[in-house]
C-alpha cells in the first residue's frame, strides 16, 4: 500500500544532497533562459542537462509516468496545430481531406519542446527533494509554518482518503448501484460515490484539528526542527554558477536586441 504520493526517493545522490532552494533556482533558470533566448537549441540543451542529472540520480524511470500524463495532450496539440492551424500555409502532406501544414507543425514543435523542458527540469526538483525539506526551507525563509504543515500533510492524507474510494465503490456496487450504462445512469452514480468521502473526511477534520491544537500547533514560539537539512558543500557554488549563467543570458539577449553583438554570435 502506498503511504505517500510523493515521488521523492532517497538515492543518496548528488541531487539529494543539494538544498531545495538550489534545485528550485535551477528550475527557474532552465525554464526562463530558453524562452528568453529563443530558437530550439537552448531548449534541447537544458533538456539534455536535466536528463543527465536524472540519470545521475537514478530516477529517470520515474519521469516516464509524468511524461505519459502530459504526453496525451501533447499529441493532441501536435495534431490540432498541424492539421487545423489557420492562416497561410505550406503543404507538408495530405491525409485524406486533411492537409498537414508546415507552419502549424513547427508551431506545435515549439510547444512540445517548451513543455518537455519544463517537465524534465521540474522532475530534477520533484524526484530528488523530500517534501518535508521543501517545507523546512520555506519556513526558514519566512513562510507560515502552519501552511507548511498543510503542504507536507497532503502527501500522506490524500492517499489515506483515496484508499477508501475503492471500498466505497465496491460497497455501492454491491448494493446494486450501476456505474456503467447511459450518461444519465453514470451521473446518478456520482453523488452516492462522492458523498461518503466528503462526509467522513470533513468529520475527521474536527478531530484532527483538536489533535494538532493540543500539540501546540497554534504556538507562537519560533519553530525548531528535529533534523536540520545540511546541504552539500557544492550547494552555494552551484547557486553562484546558476546566477552567473542567468545574468549572462540576460546580457546576451539585451546585446542581441540592441544589435551590438558581433555578427557571428547572432
Amino acid at each position: 500500500m502506498k503511504k505517500s504520493i510523493s515521488l521523492y526517493e532517497e538515492k543518496h545522490s548528488f541531487l539529494n544532497g543539494l538544498s531545495p532552494e538550489t534545485k528550485l533556482l535551477y528550475v527557474v533558470v532552465a525554464i526562463a533562459i530558453p524562452v528568453m533566448i529563443g530558437g530550439r537549441i537552448p531548449f534541447i540543451a537544458f533538456m539534455a542537462i536535466s536528463i543527465g542529472l536524472l540519470i545521475d540520480s537514478k530516477v529517470l524511470y520515474k519521469a516516464k509516468t509524468i511524461i505519459e500524463v502530459s504526453g496525451f495532450i501533447l499529441i493532441t496539440v501536435v495534431i490540432i496545430q498541424t492539421f487545423f492551424r489557420g492562416g497561410n500555409y505550406t503543404e507538408l502532406f495530405r491525409l485524406g481531406p486533411l492537409v498537414a501544414r508546415k507552419e502549424g507543425f513547427e508551431y506545435s514543435m515549439g510547444i512540445l519542446l517548451n513543455v518537455l523542458n519544463i517537465i524534465f527540469c521540474f522532475c530534477v526538483f520533484v524526484l530528488t527533494t523530500k517534501p518535508s525539506d521543501m517545507m523546512q526551507e520555506m519556513v526558514k525563509h519566512g513562510a507560515s509554518p502552519r501552511l507548511g504543515y498543510v503542504f507536507v500533510s497532503l502527501f500522506q492524507i490524500i492517499p489515506q482518503m483515496t484508499e477508501h474510494t475503492s471500498t466505497i465503490t465496491d460497497a455501492q456496487r454491491s448494493r446494486g448501484m450501476e456505474t456503467e450504462g447511459s450518461l444519465g445512469t453514470r451521473i446518478k452514480a456520482f453523488l452516492p460515490l462522492i458523498s461518503p468521502v466528503i462526509m467522513s473526511s470533513f468529520m475527521d477534520t474536527k478531530e484532527r484539528s483538536i489533535a494538532l491544537e493540543v500539540r501546540g500547533f497554534s504556538s507562537k514560539a519560533k519553530k525548531t526542527f528535529l533534523e536540520d537539512f545540511i546541504p552539500s558543500k557544492y550547494d552555494s557554488k552551484i547557486r553562484m554558477i546558476l546566477v552567473i549563467i542567468f545574468i549572462s543570458s540576460v546580457v546576451f539577449v539585451i546585446l542581441k536586441a540592441t544589435g551590438v553583438l558581433p555578427v557571428w554570435l547572432r
Partner: protein, 285 residues
C-alpha cells in the same frame, strides 16, 4: 503542582438547546487518577475538552462558570499555553496522526518542534517517552502502518514529551482490540507510577475500578457524585444513571459481602481480601 478547580461549569454547543455541561463543581489534585463514567451523551467528552479550553474556545457556543488550572482560567488562556500543562489523548488513534511525518520518531517530535525545543533536548525527551511506553522498536516505522494499540501509544508519547502534569484520556481504548487495549493500559500504569495526574474517561468499568483514586459519575451534564470507586459503585442508583458496577461488586452485592464501612469491593483483590478475612474469622470462631 497542577491543581484543577472547576466552579459551576455550564456549556451549550452552538445551535443546540440543551446544556451539555450543567453546573459542574469539583477539584482535582496533583497525582490523582480520576475515572470519569456515565452513559453516552452524559457530557464526559465535553467535560474533558473543557479542561483544555477547547470548550468553548474551539467549539464556540455558550459558556458559564470557570475552570482554573493553577489559578489560570482556561477560557482566558489559549490551547497552546494549556497543552504544556494538560495533555489530551482521544478515541480515534488514526485522526491523531499529524500526517506530516514519515516516521514514528518524527511524529512524536511534532509538538516539541512547535514549541521550539532545541534538537538535542527533543531527542532526549522522545527517547524517554518511547521507552516508558515500550515503543522504542517502532522508531523508524511509518505512523499509518502501526496497529491501533501502537498508534494510540504513539499518540500518548506525542503528548507526554511535552511533559504535561495532567493527562486527559477520552476513551483511549474504545476503538482497539483487547491486545491493543492492554498495551495502552500498561502505558497508563507507567504514567500513573510517574505521579502524573490522570483523568480518564472509560467504559471498561473494571479498569476504572482498578486504577482510579476517585470516580466522577456524570449524567445529563451534571456531576451526580465524585468519590472513591467503592462508594460510587456501591450506590443503588447506578442503573438509573446508565452505568453498571464491576462484576465483583455485582456478585458481592448479590451475596451481601460488605466491608467494615458497609461498602462492596470493586476489584478481584479487594474481594479476595474480604473473603479471606471472613474465612479467618469463621475459622477462629
Amino acid at each position: 503542582m497542577a491543581e484543577i478547580v472547576i466552579n459551576n461549569l455550564r456549556y451549550r454547543y452552538p445551535e443546540t438547546t440543551r446544556l451539555a455541561l450543567n453546573g459542574i463543581t469539583c477539584q482535582i489534585h496533583q497525582g490523582e487518577f480520576i475515572g470519569v463514567i456515565g452513559r453516552n451523551g452524559a457530557g464526559k467528552s465535553t467535560f474533558s475538552q473543557a479542561l483544555l479550553g477547547l470548550v468553548p474556545n474551539f467549539y464556540h457556543g455558550a459558556y458559564g462558570g470557570s475552570v482554573t488550572i493553577d489559578g489560570v482560567n482556561v477560557k482566558e488562556s489559549s490551547v497552546d499555553e494549556l497543552c504544556q500543562k494538560v495533555g489530551l489523548v482521544f478515541q480515534n488513534p488514526f485522526n491523531q496522526i499529524t500526517g506530516s511525518k514519515l516516521t514514528v520518531y518524527e511524529e512524536i517530535a511534532f509538538g516539541l518542534e512547535n514549541f521550539g525545543v532545541p534538537s538535542d533536548e527533543m531527542h532526549r525527551r522522545i527517547d524517554n517517552a518511547m521507552e516508558l511506553l515500550d515503543i522504542s522498536e517502532l522508531k523508524n516505522r511509518v505512523p499509518y502502518d502501526l496497529s491501533g494499540g501502537q498508534m494510540q501509544r504513539m499518540a500518548l508519547a506525542g503528548i507526554i514529551v511535552m511533559e504535561p502534569e495532567v493527562i486527559v484520556m477520552d476513551e483511549p481504548t474504545s476503538q482497539l482490540d483487547p491486545q491493543g487495549s492492554e498495551e495502552v493500559f500498561r502505558a497508563v500504569r507507567a504514567l500513573k507510577n510517574q505521579g502524573k495526574t490522570i483523568i480518564m474517561i472509560e467504559h471498561k468499568i473494571e479498569k476504572i475500578a482498578a486504577y482510579s483514586d476517585c470516580v466522577m459519575l456524570l449524567d445529563d451534564g451534571k456531576l451526580v457524585a465524585m468519590d472513591t470507586p467503592k462508594v460510587i459503585f456501591s450506590r443503588d442508583d447506578l442503573a438509573k444513571h446508565g452505568v453498571c458496577a464491576p462484576t465483583y461488586t455485582q456478585i458481592c452485592r448479590e451475596l451481601n459481602i460488605r466491608d467494615r464501612d458497609g461498602l462492596f469491593p470493586v476489584t478481584l483483590e479487594e474481594t479476595r481480601a474480604l473473603l479471606d478475612a471472613d474465612m479467618k474469622e469463621r475459622v477462629s470462631r
